[in-house]
């Protein structure tokens, strides 16, 4: 009963957050001075098309209809929310008319998801492992070397690192392709190897940058937990290092790391932008980039809404599974 109320309460908050975000997304562009219909009309007439007043009026009405700009603001808002919440429809893309926005997003999503999820997880596991060991034995040479590497990697701006990797490994040494071209029939070995081959460099760039951050944060966690009273008590019980590390330090160190991981997975849709532009990777980031460049209003709305939903979903999932991981917040 208690649990049910907790879950339902969390789901309600989740829905409210998304509706609130959609509301902001709806109103902000409409508070601005630009009118997309007039902008479109200006674009059409600037391209030299001649139309009489009746035709202009007809076009204006039909544009307003396609853009969902008919009726009062409140009516538009209600129609907008209804359309997105109940049908998940963001309308057609303006730059790739008449392909629906959702279709473009669904095509791009697996790429972004596959690339970022894999590389974030690899960096997380590696970073936690190295950070845990170097926090446990801060004076060992291997720990110092790993920490040195992490501190050097951590502050490099991501785009610099990605560019350096790209220049070194696909221009100077020509090991990896400069832009992404996927070949092969669906589900063939050729396709899989082509995907891995093309994704290697962008994935490496993410792993390297994020890895440094994980190492530093887990190391700080571990060296603090090592001095906790329960760690000392475990040592005075005569328990071995391995057992103290895996049963006492690791679970306590991982708790905050799991929160960070979920937030990072939620945020990765925004983070994908630079990676995908630099490596010409056909994911969501490239889609957002095109939408901005082409003034594709619907596509922009769709991609931004999706990233809001992604962050909200990630935090909700964490909130729901956290009580399973930490007994202290299980019984309120």
């Amino acid at each position: 009963m208690h649990l049910l109320r907790f879950i339902v309460g969390r789901l309600v908050v989740y829905a409210l957050v998304i509706v609130f975000a959609l509301t902001v997304l709806f109103f902000v562009p409409r508070l601005g001075p630009t009118d997309p219909v007039e902008a479109m009309l200006a674009k059409v007439s600037s391209q030299g098309a001649y139309m009489d007043a009746a035709q202009v009026d007809a076009l204006r009405r039909s544009l307003a209809d396609t853009f969902g700009l008919n009726g009062s603001l409140l009516e538009q808002y209600w129609a907008f929310i209804k359309r997105i919440v109940f049908t998940g429809d963001f309308g057609p893309s303006l730059s790739m008319y008449p392909t629906p926005v959702m279709e473009l997003i669904w095509n791009a999503l697996p790429w972004t998801f596959g690339l970022l999820l894999t590389s974030t997880l690899i960096a997380w596991v590696l970073g936690n492992f190295v950070g845990l060991l170097s926090g446990w034995r801060p004076n060992a040479n291997s720990s110092r070397i790993m920490e040195g590497i992490a501190i050097c990697l951590y502050p490099i701006p991501y785009y610099i690192l990605a560019l350096v990797l790209s220049i070194l490994f696909s221009y100077v040494w020509r090991i990896f392709p400069l832009t992404t071209t996927i070949r092969g029939a669906p589900w063939s070995w050729e396709l899989v190897s082509s995907i891995v081959w093309n994704s290697f460099l962008p994935a490496m760039s993410i792993v390297i940058v994020v890895f440094g951050w994980w190492v530093i944060s887990v190391k700080a966690q571990t060296s603090a937990l090592k001095e906790e009273e329960f760690a000392r008590y475990a040592r005075l019980k005569g328990l071995g290092d391995g057992r103290i590390l895996t049963r006492y330090i690791l679970p306590n160190a991982l708790l905050p790391q799991i929160t960070f991981l979920a937030l990072q997975i939620g945020l990765m849709f925004n983070g994908s932008l630079i990676t995908e532009i630099l490596f010409d990777y056909p994911g969501l980031g490239l889609l957002i980039y095109t939408a901005v460049l082409q003034g594709d209003f619907n596509l922009l709305m769709g991609t931004i809404s999706l990233s809001v939903i992604a962050v909200a979903t990630a935090t909700m999932i964490i909130d729901l599974i956290y009580p399973l991981l930490d007994p202290r917040i299980r019984h309120r």
């Binding site: 008590y233 005075l236 019980k237």
Partner: protein, 274 residues
């Protein structure tokens, strides 16, 4: 059981900060020894050196601490300096810390924390069997079986302290060291836990060393009392005798500072805090 011979203990690897200064003491079988003294008197440092907990820069500069244990199972005699006691931890000797909130792993159930570290001789039988024995043992401390499935944060301070006493006693050790085991508790709970510790000692006929700044605690349970001041032992003897006829000025002051039912307690003191 434990022989402390003119031992000087302190901290630091480059410099050396003396905490215990040339102390000699012998701790025998089947007795409760109390070590009393104010904060900074060196009592906890001495206890750590006796337990063999040489971490955070603690080291013995002069003198020796040696132990002599008889293995309960094969009757073998183990003699070792305290620097090698770590092999005897949770086997021949165990330790009761002050039961603050963070002394038990917050993510482990109590049962697992009792089992973790147990020597082989106490582990025998199936897991269910072991659980049964632990539950029976905890019942002796007035703790229900549900405590085994609880996490530390679900227990009160008094329950946590009883669990810590139980964990140390379940090992069946020859020597139990307790560092301020009742300091954070109210006097009613304190009394209960002290009585349990006495009962365990009488039953196991082992040695209990109790470190506390609270003379009232020592008065209630210890057989023999050691008073420390500025890193040295200023007085030692049977507890009743020390309370009846304190020899050293510092001891007299400590006893005079105890709360009493009639009259005013003394507030004068010797020297400044170390």
């Amino acid at each position: 059981m434990i022989t402390i011979d003119k031992v000087t203990v302190g901290y630091g690897t480059a410099g050396f900060i003396k905490a215990v200064d040339g102390v000699s003491l012998s701790i025998g079988d089947n007795e409760i020894v109390g070590i009393a003294g104010e904060t900074g008197s060196g009592k906890s440092t001495l206890m750590r050196a006796v337990y063999g907990d040489f971490s955070t820069g603690l080291r013995i500069k002069d003198g020796t601490i040696t132990g002599r244990f008889v293995d309960q199972k094969n009757g073998q005699v183990i003699e070792a300096p305290s620097s090698r006691f770590h092999r005897l931890w949770w086997d021949q000797m165990s330790y009761i810390p002050q039961g603050s909130m963070s002394v038990l792993n917050p993510l482990m159930k109590i049962e697992a924390q009792v089992v973790d570290g147990l020597p082989k001789r106490e582990r025998g039988g199936s897991r269910a069997d072991l659980r049964r024995r632990i539950a029976d043992f905890l019942a002796g401390f007035g703790l229900e079986e549900t405590v085994l499935d609880a996490y530390p944060h679900q227990l009160s301070g008094g329950m946590r302290q009883r669990v810590l006493v139980a964990i140390a006693a379940f090992v069946n050790p020859r020597l139990i060291l307790a560092d301020e085991p009742t300091t954070a508790l109210d006097v009613v709970v304190q009394k209960k836990i002290l009585l349990m510790m006495v009962e365990i000692q009488r039953r196991l006929r082992n040695t209990l060393v109790l470190v506390s700044h609270d003379l009232g605690v020592h008065y209630q349970i210890t057989d023999r009392l050691v008073i420390m001041y500025k890193g040295q032992i200023v007085e030692t003897g049977p507890t009743a005798e020390i309370f009846a006829n304190p020899q050293h000025d510092y001891t007299r002051n400590l006893i005079a500072a105890l709360p009493r039912l009639h009259g005013k307690r003394s507030v004068d003191r010797v020297g400044e805090a170390p």
